[in-house]
């Protein structure tokens, strides 16, 4: 009997034992009105350094992502037990309350070895609370043992070796809470940007092998109502030369510009709309004169001069790293040389008017 009681006691204490299974995601913390002070409070990861996602989180990737100063972005989605996202052919999927999109911005010491000596800078959370989506970011300490809530933004110096073997330094900007919303809003309501069906419609290598993400999510019960991937819309991969140039360029502009340059978003007053659904030439910048560009015009007359990237404000502002000139105006300090090259190639290929 005594032994039985002792055993029971030991069992009850198991939670504290190092060999115990990690408790699941703290849904009460996820849904709380106020943000948790530390990333660890959400229990989204099984370890303090957030290298091992907790049970219930699924990695995902986008065909064409936003450029963020060459940082690696590790994306995870959490859905509460038994909950699924609803299919939407246009825009982001309809995620249930309790959904968390987790994105860690990190620099490997050398971009050519992305899994080696990786420094985490920040982990951003987009949480679907009962009242709507909320954006928070957690900044990692030097020791990579803890990430704490940072609401007012920060600058972090990071170094890495780029794909060409050059040493790079970046004055990396952690956004303030309002800046999160500047990009993540439609009609003044905060919303995710990336996880649209068309941008998820691609292959990801999971622990048990490669699979289309829409198919994987459907099979795992994370997504309902989706058609077969072949019947679903699909965003091109901006960096796949096998895909048509037009599709790659439009995918790039959609991911890098259209969160603001959208009639329902922050840059609506510019009249420049760069989403994939836009088909009107002036709205896309073709022959369009600047409105409030200031020195961002670079002494050029139009957004896009077909056939002439050097005469196109769009390419000029993408190629700048100067505040007041560069576009996007948030989210980068470095020039995305490969992205600029793609857009220049696209403009050059347009028949001159």
């Amino acid at each position: 009997m005594t032994r039985w009681v002792a055993l029971l006691g030991a069992l009850l204490c198991l939670g504290a034992a190092p060999s115990a299974p990690t408790p699941g995601v703290a849904l009460d913390v996820v849904l709380a009105d106020t943000p948790a002070p530390r990333l660890a409070d959400y229990r989204l990861f099984a370890d303090a350094s957030a290298r091992r996602p907790n049970a219930g989180l699924t990695p995902y990737a986008l065909n064409t992502p936003l450029f963020s100063d060459y940082a690696e972005k590790r994306r995870l989605i959490y859905l509460p037990p038994g909950k699924a996202a609803d299919w939407r052919a246009d825009g982001v999927l309809a995620f249930p309350v309790g959904a968390v999109l987790v994105k860690t911005f990190a620099y490997p010491a050398d971009l050519r070895r992305p899994d080696d000596k990786v420094r985490y800078l920040e982990t951003r959370l987009l949480i679907h609370k009962a009242s709507g989506w909320v954006a928070q970011t957690y900044v990692w300490n030097e020791a990579q043992t803890e990430a704490v809530l940072k609401r007012a933004g920060a600058r972090l110096e990071a170094t890495f070796t780029d794909l060409r073997g050059q040493n790079r330094t970046v004055d990396y900007a952690v956004p303030n809470q309002n800046q999160c919303k500047e990009c993540h809003q439609l009609d003044k309501t905060l919303t995710p940007i990336g996880p649209k069906a068309r941008n998820l419609n691609g292959i990801l290598v999971y622990a048990d092998g490669p699979e289309n993400q829409l198919a994987h999510w459907t099979r795992r019960g994370l997504l309902t109502g989706a058609p077969a991937p072949a019947a679903a819309p699909r965003t091109a991969r901006w960096d796949d030369p096998a895909e048509p140039l037009e599709a790659r360029a439009r995918a790039y502009l959609d991911a890098n510009c259209a969160h603001c340059h959208n009639p329902r978003a922050v840059a609506s007053n510019s009249g420049l709309f760069l989403g994939v659904e836009e088909s009107r030439a002036p709205q896309l910048g073709i022959g369009k004169q600047p409105v409030a560009a200031g020195r961002g015009s670079g002494n050029l007359s139009v957004g896009i001069a077909p056939g002439h990237p050097d005469a196109s404000i769009l390419a000029f502002r993408m190629a700048s790293s100067e505040p007041g000139v560069m576009m996007p105006e948030l989210g980068r300090a470095l020039v995305h040389e490969e992205g600029v090259a793609l857009i220049r190639q696209w403009i050059a290929a347009m028949p001159a008017r």
């Binding site: 007012a152 920060a154 309002n178 002036p282 200031g294 007041g324």
Partner: protein, 403 residues
């Protein structure tokens, strides 16, 4: 008695819940994070109070809470310096409603000075926005920049050095700009793609152009109309236009007093306009190519009357100006109209009443067709009966801010 006490208690409770607080921030280290945190922590009714002194900022600041006042200790006392700015398109961005920014200075932003987007009932009072190195093409575009807003109040604001417009109101409705000074900008004050602006008691001096009322195509809000530009001092606008090319203001001739482009129901009266070498008042069509059937490029239903017009237009900078001036014996009439009255696809004939003569009518057959000008000069041009827009009335709470 009991009922009285009960009422008193409930009153006290009410005022406690509604009690506004001050969040005071002093200059010093971590100014960026401390101000931004206050702007995030503020609740409706609160004031973010920036103490006297110099704040060195490294990034843009932003406010997204309704009913907040951001107040300094005066435009010479509280200075937000963005000389070391590394990111963001402006110094301070406001995206919430019923916000007042007052009594402070914003210096040397890399892009625009203070911008509000979609922020209704926005007030800028007793501010100084300045690029301290003087007029330069590398300065930011706009000093005070409300856009896509309803109910805009700009009062006792000074802007210097903007490479586009010092005070710029875009795509907005119900606007008051008064008692402000714009100097050494490309454009002093510009009202663009907007409805119902009263611009009065301002000083626009040493800009390339003093006061501009424009409408541009292919924008979500178009068809600007119903503005009153009155009792302003538009004098000595003599800074060489330093706008980066491509921007519409780069086409404003240096030494322009008041310029109206592609708008209707604009009334210009009671202003003192002198010392502007290209023209005192210029009414022109939008001349660039555009692809927008809903856009009207002509100024129409324009009234110019009862202005005090001094020496102007002695050395016009625009194409053909010198030639016409020569024909007229050295200088141009102070009021110039391009004379375009019809445009293909648009109904009607543009009408004006320009009574501060002499008036030069270029009688152009279409926008920008200067080589086909048939210039004529008359004491007055046009007799359009255009009733003056009603005075702009702001919400009472907002109007009370600037008594």
């Amino acid at each position: 008695m009991v009922r009285f006490v009960a009422a008193l208690i409930s009153l006290a409770a009410l005022s406690a819940t509604a009690e506004a607080k001050d969040l005071t921030v002093a200059p010093g280290g971590d100014a960026q994070e401390r101000i931004q945190t206050a702007l995030l922590d503020a609740k409706p009714g609160d004031t973010v109070r920036l103490a006297a002194g110099r704040f060195e900022l490294s990034d843009g600041l932003s406010l997204d809470v309704d009913d907040v006042t951001v107040a300094g200790a005066g435009p010479e006392a509280t200075v937000l310096s963005f000389k070391g700015q590394k990111g963001a398109g402006e110094g301070l961005l406001i995206t919430s409603d019923r916000v007042t920014v007052r009594d402070l200075a914003i210096e040397d932003t890399r892009g625009d000075g203070v911008k509000s987007k979609g922020a209704d009932e926005i007030s800028f009072i007793n501010l100084r926005v300045e690029w301290t190195g003087g007029p330069k093409e590398t300065n930011g575009a706009y000093g005070v920049y409300p856009v896509a807003s309803t109910n805009v109040l700009i009062d006792k604001v000074t802007v210097k050095g903007a490479s586009d417009a010092g005070i710029y109101v875009g795509q907005s409705k119900n606007i008051v700009v008064k008692r402000s000074t714009a100097a050494f900008n490309v454009a002093g004050i510009e009202i663009e793609n907007s409805m119902n602006a009263d611009v009065f008691d301002n000083v626009a001096t040493h800009n390339a152009g003093g006061i501009l009322v424009f409408d541009l195509p292919n924008l979500p809000v178009m068809g600007g109309h119903s503005h009153r530009i009155f009792n302003n001092q538009v004098v000595d606008n003599d800074t060489q236009n330093f706008a980066p090319k491509g921007n519409i203001v780069a086409s404003v001739p240096t030494g322009t007093g008041v310029m109206v482009m592609a708008n209707r129901d604009v009334h210009v009266f009671g202003n003192r306009i002198s010392g502007n070498r290209s023209s005192a008042i210029m009414l022109v069509s939008y001349t660039r190519k555009f692809d927008d059937k809903s856009y009207n490029p002509l100024p129409r239903d324009i009234v110019v009357r009862d202005n005090t017009i001094g020496r102007n237009a002695w050395d016009p900078e625009f194409a053909g100006g010198a030639m016409v001036a020569k024909m007229m014996g050295g200088s141009l009439p102070p009021v110039i109209w391009d004379g375009v009255t019809t445009f293909p696809g648009l109904p009607g004939v543009a009408k004006v009443r320009l009574s501060d003569g002499p008036v030069l009518n270029l009688n152009l057959p279409g926008p920008g067709l200067v080589e086909q000008a048939r210039p004529s000069v008359a004491k007055t041009v046009g007799d359009a009966v255009v009733s003056e827009p009603a005075a702009v009335v702001l919400p009472a709470r907002q109007a009370a801010l600037s008594r």
